[in-house]
Structure formats: structure tokens, C-alpha cells
Symmetry: C2
Subunit: 419 residues, 2 copies
DNA sequence: ATTCTTTTTTTCGAAGCTCGAAAAAATAGC
DNA sequence: GCTATTTTTTCGAGCTTCGAAAAAAAGAAT
């Protein structure tokens, strides 16, 4: 339902805007905030006064105010690190980390452990996560702000409310209600986020100029994941965490996929598929659940050294990715593409076939000059994305609370073209 | 850049909201508008007073006020048909229509003609459209409101600013600048819209309950088109009119497509592909540009009558559509699907193979019970979509002018899940 | 050392918007 | 004709933002 804009929404909205401007710019002066938000100086003055009074923002004693020009020096504002904190948890195959992050986005404490995720029972898995959070909270210094949000990044499919892990390759259990468990124990709102979505959030945060409105992050590991940003915000399907790029069909009724179906992109481009082909096991060989990085590096070396099955396996992976990206571009044209994960270490073996395939698709016709950003280690990105996502929640829903902004307020289509 | 909400944006926004509420509800009372927008009665009273003074809205003399209850009767408000008018032009293969529509959305006049679009020169094609607009304007009655917007719906690819037809199967010319030509002659802002996008807009207007946030309209004709609605607004790619579902890859290096590439969905599911296969011409046979509906009906009859090439051709079309939809669902899960166009008349021959293919995809796993809405005649939908799109522009940009609403105002991701 | 310039930030009154309560309007029921 | 009921308008209060002017704080000039 369309809903009108009330008068108090206005303040809420502008408060959120000021917080966002400070988070983005780091240590902006009031004048810079006014310029960034197009609000008047007096308004910024009023809003920042109340934010300072509430200890959300602090005056960061005009330290490195660049070359001090003439005139009254700007006084830098910064987010008060002690205003709040959030927990970012990253759970992947046999690896778990929990990180406590202050309101300014800096790491306070971290706990890393290596549970055997494939063999743990459902209760043990949940307990492992809870215990990691417990440990990292115990490790926090006295001055840390109250924990106001937790985000758990996991490879797999979550429900659309981000409360439950529906399915994941790292555990045999389905429908694991992580968010409820964490909320029950710690009394802090929590969400379960898809790892690739968090990667996309992190990329947008790191390079907002490059990763602006539409882009895609593809994770190359044992499986193939995707995080999709459309019109500047994360796109997840209507019913689940969305973006299952790896399970688009590449070859109808083709190679056996980990998901039980046939011909998925992943069944050609996932690590298990590359390994399977390199070892000449045929397309019906059951996918390996856990392949260590060293094995994949060996395969890549072998592929570089001489023609043969290994080289062919990487080329087939590239071909699958190229056709998949071509179809993706045909549909939604998400210009920059980031490839993330250990699989990128063999990108030199993958790229030629990928570009060749892409060039043969309709979506790829404008992509001849497309460059791919590579990032081998996905874990820091996932952690960073979780932290950003959690902090954004605190910014909007706790420090600028009120009614949700009208969905209607999104720019209408004919206008969005002009912008 | 994020931009703050100014004080006057508020009025603009709420004005637009009231206009939208009236357009949606038809003849609502002030009380109903207040309920729909969650604004107070006093605000609605003020805003509607000024809209009435400006002759945008009129009091529609409490006519059919249902069973007149006790109390002061509601006075229905309606859009003033004479406040403005828009022109919706639909150009398709060898067919052209221009329709003048009043501000209340009712048809005032129409002009239908049959130019040979494939053989006209670029200038003649533009002139044909301009002439149709000229004729329909001449046919308007005296009381019609000023024309404030034109929208031209065409099969093909338009630029992202909706000003130029980049490519279309209905003409050999590319980069036809229809919008500039129309604006130059008539002095009215004009846009060129993709036909399938307009179909999606029309569906949303006709059944907003069913076609709400995420859905897709697929046009089955000589080519395969798609209109994609994401989060309640039309999605077009970053650079062009987007959604080239028909050119997602079905079979790598497969059948020859009209676009010159190989293996596109269209190269199996388009009319020319069905015809080609039914006649045993092989996958490299050049696509026919114009196939009349009677031919396709004959093929469907033959397929129904007996097994053979015709039946096989429709099954292959279904299979291509099924795998394509499966990939689409894997990516973005746009729950309701509408199939539009003359191709739906053979849907009984297409559906079984389509569902079978869909069931074999990851995206199709939840779609067993998916029902497809069929609509054989696409032209009225395109016209309706153009009219709605043009009227929405008048509503927002002319009758509630001001700065574009902040893009930032879109609901943040964690919130959108709850809604 | 003092005054002038320049730039940032705050203050203050004005204008605009929405809201709630109360009043006015308009009709059905008795 | 009076009362009850519902819709619509009116009016003052309370926010918010804005522009202009004032205040603050520093470097530059004398």
C-alpha cells in the first residue's frame, strides 16, 4: 500500500542521512555534510547537535585538518566507536569466526575456530556458533558499546526473512534456525545472510565508485555462488536468499551437480567438477564435498605445464561461466563483475575460454572490454559485508528509528532513466 | 549521491500520493484517500482542495455512492478527464496504432494503419508514426485536455534513456530516434518503450494484487521477449531496455538465432524456430522474418492431430522455455509468470515439455504448482502499458513537480524482508 | 600586539507542512 | 423537527527546514 510521508519521517530520514554521510566520509565537517546531503547548514547543525548529545556522533577534535587554511577551522565529526557494537560471524566449511566490531567499524576482538561442520549435529552446530559469539564477547574490553545486532554469513540458501539457513553445503542439516537461537541466548536481533550477498555489500562499501548501482559478485569455490546488487540494493529472490547463479542450466541434462540436478553451471565450474573432469571420472561421478586448496593449486599447475585433462577441465569451467554470465548479462546487465574466492587463483586457465564463450552470447556482445576484478580470499569480504549490514541496521533502525520509509518513494521508472 | 529530504519535497510527495490514490481507486472519497495514504483527514482535505482548484481533480457529484448510509454522504473525487491527455502509440510488424487517452485513462480517439514496416525507409518509418499521431490528434474532440506525454511501444531494444530504438525485428534500420522526432514535431515529451515492459506495466495495472512486486511477462511471437518487474518497478538493464530473455543461451553453439548468434532460447521457441523445425529445415536455416498467425495455427493443429515433426517442434520450444524460466527463477524468482502473444494459442502443445524441463532445473523446484496466465492478444496490453506509463509521468512530473525523490529513500534491505 | 579577512558554526525569526481536536455540514432514522 | 451518525473543513499547535545574520575561530596584514 502506498503510504504518505509524515512530518516526523522527515527528521528521521535526514537524521539517517547525516549518520550515513558521516559513516561514508569518515571524519567530515558539518560543512561537508551539508554539501553531501544538500541540506542547509542550519539543519545539519541542529541534527548533529542532537546526535552529539545522544553520544552517537562525537567531535573528533580537529586533528588532521589537512593544510590549515585561513578562517575558522572545520571541526571533524566522527561516529562514536562506543555508541554500539555489532557481531559479524562467518561460518564456512570447517571454519568459524566471530568478530566484535565497534560502531565506527573497527575490529575490537575476534575468535577463530575450526569445527568439523560436516559432522556436527544440528544442535552442536548452533552451539558452536553461539560459543564463538560468547568467547568474542568475553574478550571485549570494558569500554565497548552495547551489542545491538549480529549478522551471520554462511554459504548456502537462507529464507527470505534472513532467519534460517535452509540449505548449505557445509552441513547435512537443513532449516537451521540460527537467528532464533542467537536472539534467544544473547537478546540481540540477528540475521543469517548469504555469503555472496555479503561479499557484494562489502565490495560496494570498499569501492562505491566502481560498485555502484548494478553489479555482481561471483564466488568460485567448491560451489558457485552469486551476490547481486540491483539499483543499489541487494537483490534476493522473493522466497529465498536468491541469486543461485551456479544453478542456472548450462547444458540441459548435462553433468551431475551437487544439488542432484544436471547441467548446472556449478557442475562444470565448481572445484569438484574441475577435479572430476581432470581425473577423468566422467560427468556422473559424485561431487566431492571437501577439496583442499592445495589440490586445486596442483591441478592449476598441471594445466599450466602441459595440455591435457587438467587444462581441458579449466577450459570447460571457463566456458560454463562465460555462457552463464552471458545469460545473466542478457537479462540484467550488471556491469562490473567481481570474481571472488580461491578459484580465482586459476583464473589464467579459466579466462580465455570464459571470454570466448561470453563473446558468443547475446549478453556478451558489449562486454569485449569487460575487466574482471579478482579477489582470492573471500572470508574477509564476507566478514566486512556482515559488519556493514549490521551497522547499517543500527544506523537506520536504532539510531534513526521511526516508520519504514515509503517504498513508493523510490524513483519512478521514467525518472530513473534520466539520473 | 545521497540527498536530504527538503521541506517542500514533503508536499510534492503527498500530492503525488493523493493523485496516485485517486487513479488507483477510481472514485474515492476524501476519507478513503486518507485511509489509503495514512495521512490525516485535514491533510487530504487541504491537498485535494488545491488539486480541485487546479482542475486536476474534480468532485464527481456523489453519484453511485453505494447504499447510502447514515451520516453525511461521501463525495467522490475523480481525475478530471480534461486535465490532460496522452498519446499511446503501438508499432509492431506491419501494424501501427495511435491512441489518444484522457487524463482519467479513457480512450478518446484512435488511428489504426498498416504500414509495411520491413520495407519503409528510416525517414518513412518515422513519418508513418508522426502521421498516425497527427491523425489521431485531429480526430480529438474540442474538450480534450492538452497532450502532455507520448509513449511509443515497440518490439525491440531501446536505449536506456528510452529515446531511441536501437534495434528491432520490425525494421532493418537501427538507432531510430523516434522520441526526438516526435518531440520536435509536437512539442510534447515522448519516450520509446520496449513492448514487453509495457505489457508488464499493464498487467500490474490490471491486477495489482496478483502482479505486485516481482513478476515476469513473456511474449511468445516470432521472437521471445520479456518484461521484468522487480520490487514493484520495471527493471531495465543498465545500458539498454534490458530483459532479453529470448537471447539467454539454451544450447551452447546450438540452433541459429535471428540475432546471428547460436543456441538462444528464441532459436528454439520463436515462431520461426518452430516453423523451421516442423518443416525439417535444420537448425541453420535462416529465420523467417514474418510468419502469419494462420501458418502457426496450422502447425498447432497438425501437432495436435498426430505425432511427428510439428509436435516435436512445439515440444522443443517448450523445453527451451522451461530451461530458460528455470534459469530465470534460479536467479531472481519472479513468482507469477504471464505468457502473452499469439504463441500462447498453441500452449497446450508447449506446456508439457515446458513443465518437464522446468522441473529438471534448480529454479523450478518450487514451481510444480506454478500456473501460467495466458493472454493471446498483446497489442491491447502494450497500448494500455504505454498509456499508464505516460499518465504516471504526468501525475508525477507535471502535476506534482519538484525534485526527484531521494533514491536513498528506498527501503533498506534488512527492512524489505519484513515487509 | 592588534586589526582585518576568511571560513565555519550557531542562532533566530519566518514560512511551510501535518496533525489532532473541534466545528460545520449533510443525511438517515425516529 | 430532532437526534445520531458520518464526512469534511477549520483552526491553532507543534515540528521541521531555510535564509540571513551573528558569533566564533583561526591566519594574514599592519
Amino acid at each position: 500500500m502506498i503510504v504518505g510521508v509524515r512530518h516526523d519521517d522527515l527528521r528521521r530520514q535526514n537524521r539517517a542521512m547525516v549518520i550515513a554521510a558521516v559513516r561514508r566520509a569518515g571524519q567530515p565537517s558539518r560543512t561537508e555534510i551539508a554539501a553531501a546531503t544538500a541540506l542547509s547548514h542550519s539543519t545539519i547543525s541542529t541534527i548533529s547537535a542532537s546526535l552529539i548529545e545522544e553520544r552517537i556522533v562525537i567531535e573528533a577534535g580537529g586533528s588532521e585538518t589537512a593544510a590549515s587554511r585561513r578562517g575558522r577551522p572545520q571541526v571533524a565529526l566522527g561516529l562514536n566507536p562506543g555508541a554500539a557494537s555489532v557481531v559479524a560471524v562467518v561460518l564456512s566449511l570447517n571454519a568459524l569466526s566471530a568478530t566484535l566490531i565497534d560502531y565506527a567499524g573497527r575490529e575490537i576482538a575476534q575468535d577463530v575456530s575450526r569445527p568439523s561442520t560436516l559432522t556436527l549435529s544440528r544442535a552442536e552446530l548452533v552451539e558452536a556458533v553461539a560459543a564463538a559469539v560468547r568467547r568474542v564477547l568475553a574478550r571485549a574490553e570494558a569500554g565497548a558499546g552495547p551489542v545491538l545486532r549480529m549478522a551471520l554469513g554462511i554459504q548456502g540458501i537462507t529464507d527470505s526473512a534472513a532467519r534460517t539457513l535452509l540449505w548449505s553445503p557445509i552441513t547435512p542439516h537443513s532449516d537451521v534456525a540460527f537467528a532464533d537461537a542467537l536472539e534467544a541466548e544473547f537478546g540481540v536481533p540477528a540475521t543469517v545472510e548469504n555469503d555472496c550477498n555479503m561479499i557484494a555489500v562489502a565490495l560496494k562499501g570498499r569501492a562505491p565508485q566502481r560498485y555502484r548501482d548494478n553489479f555482481v559478485a561471483v564466488l568460485l569455490s567448491n560451489g558457485i555462488g552469486m551476490g547481486l546488487m540491483l539499483r543499489g540494493s541487494l537483490f534476493s529472490g522473493s522466497r529465498s536468499s536468491g541469486g543461485e547463479f551456479g544453478h542456472m542450466t548450462h547444458i540441459p541434462d548435462g553433468a551431475l551437480c551437487r544439488c542432484g540436478r544436471r547441467g548446472c553451471i556449478e557442475a562444470y565450474a565448481g572445484n569438484y567438477a574441475i577435479l572430476r573432469h581432470a581425473r577423468g571420472q566422467g560427468e556422473d561421478a559424485p561431487p566431492a564435498a571437501d577439496i583442499d586448496d592445495a589440490t586445486m593449486l596442483e591441478l592449476a599447475q598441471a594445466a599450466r605445464a602441459r595440455p591435457g585433462r587438467e587444462r581441458e577441465a579449466f577450459a570447460r569451467a571457463g566456458e560454463a561461466l562465460g555462457f552463464g554470465l552471458g545469460s545473466l548479462f542478457a537479462l540484467i546487465d550488471p556491469a562490473p563483475v567481481a570474481l571472488v574466492g580461491h578459484g580465482t587463483s586459476a583464473f589464467d586457465m579459466i579466462e580465455p575460454a570464459m571470454r570466448a564463450a561470453l563473446a558468443r552470447t547475446a549478453g556478451g556482445r558489449r562486454e569485449a572490454a569487460l575487466s574482471f576484478d579478482l579477489e582470492a580470499d573471500e572470508t574477509p569480504l564476507i566478514r566486512e559485508g556482515c559488519a556493514r549490514q549490521a551497522l547499517a541496521f543500527v544506523d537506520h533502525e536504532i539510531f534513526a528509528p521511526g516508520l519504514a520509509p515509503a517504498a513508493e518513494a523510490a524513483a519512478p521508472d521514467y525518472a530513473s532513466r534520466i539520473a
